[in-house]
Subunit: 235 residues, 2 copies
């Protein structure tokens, strides 16, 4: 008989609002018996996001030896994204139909496969990821079909057959995510979503636009500071 894992779940925590809410949900279920996993991939706001990760883990009192940080700066060598390639500018928000310059091809698969590897070594049963479909930026790896296919791949590619990726935010709007975070008393003030700057959030990149839309539609003020806050209620 297999030993029950000490840590039932790996939780991917970029430090943004969505991953914070995802961690809050996992915490509600498993308390501190979690393995939060943070990835640096040479993105422009890497240090700010790491600080968010640290503050969030501190808030939930996750012991330091359970926090995992993996360096993926090699993604810079692949290039092709404004997040990791200095030659490409981060685009301002235009439309949810258009793939923004921040798209890192197949990034979620790289991240999830690292999480699966860790989960298999630690005998976890679940991997939490805060992927959002409706209000995503049109990234193909945020589609529900993608997660179904990924879970099928886990079954064919691992020894542990009971491991799966869970996506509690997939069908929520940004407004519903803000509401969920507030309901769970998640420390939104510690999260960081901006792709472009690390002191004041820019308010105009795709990630800021979608986050602000959620707060504005709910009629609640975002606790983090912005350079500008255009009205995104109708995007």
């Amino acid at each position: 008989m297999e030993t029950q894992s000490e840590y039932p779940a790996v939780v991917l925590v970029s430090g943004g609002m969505d991953s914070l809410t995802c961690l809050a949900l996992a915490f509600e279920r498993y308390s501190t018996n979690l393995l939060p996993l943070h990835l640096n991939y040479g993105q422009k706001t890497q240090e700010r996001e790491f600080l968010a990760f640290k503050n969030i883990c501190d808030f939930y009192k996750i012991p330091k030896n359970q926090r995992k940080v993996i360096d993926m700066t090699f993604l810079k060598e692949i290039g092709g994204s404004s997040l990791t390639d200095d030659a490409i500018e981060v685009s301002n928000f235009k439309s949810q139909k258009e793939i923004p310059t921040s798209y890192v091809p197949f990034r979620n698969t790289i991240i999830l496969s690292l999480a699966v590897s860790l989960a298999e070594v630690k005998k976890c049963q679940e991997i939490y990821i805060g992927a959002v479909y409706e209000d995503s930026s049109g990234y193909p790896d945020c589609r529900p079909q993608y997660y179904e296919d990924f879970n099928r791949l886990i079954k064919s590619g691992t020894i542990l057959q009971n491991l799966k990726v869970v996506t509690p935010l997939l069908r929520l709007s940004k407004k519903e995510i803000v509401a969920k975070a507030l309901e769970l008393k998640a420390p939104l003030e510690f999260s960081w979503s901006c792709y472009q700057s690390s002191d004041l959030a820019c308010g105009v990149c795709d990630s800021c636009a979608l986050r602000l839309k959620g707060f504005q539609q709910l009629g609640v003020k975002d606790p983090i500071p912005y350079k500008v806050s255009p009205d995104y209620r109708s995007i």
Copy 2:
């Protein structure tokens, strides 16, 4: 209309006999218009494998700017495998039914997702991987079903819908792979398969055992030197 890629294929080249044969097949089709991709993941024979990669690329006259090397030493942080964790010993060959200590959970998915990311940025159509099913060491990510599922995941998780992983060796035995390599005049003397040592191949790890079996069954001498060469013809 989309521009045709300059490089139709990414080829995963660890430096072992299988990936060499795979590169030889890709070369036969696309000549030097290839992107060979090599991954360091902190394995014990990392430097020796990199030398094999370099010698093989030189043999095929692949320009230096087309060769990609990605450092994945972070896999050490995940642990759980004798290949990357010094606390775990590389097991000697026992049986093809048993998962050896060299198993890195979900490793092929991590590697393939990096290859997909590169292929999408460079607009390639194919990713060659020298995975072998019959004579694999029982790794779950060498099963044909796994590759079918991975190709489904590419369709749901990328923008380029015509990209796919090809596995020309999947149904071949090690004997057939040696025969194919000889037929294609692939430089077997430059390849390195041993998981354990870098001067003389040990002859007893899983990888040496399977390689030697191929040569022995074909009745051909392996051009690389071994410490010992037990008889593996009937494994």
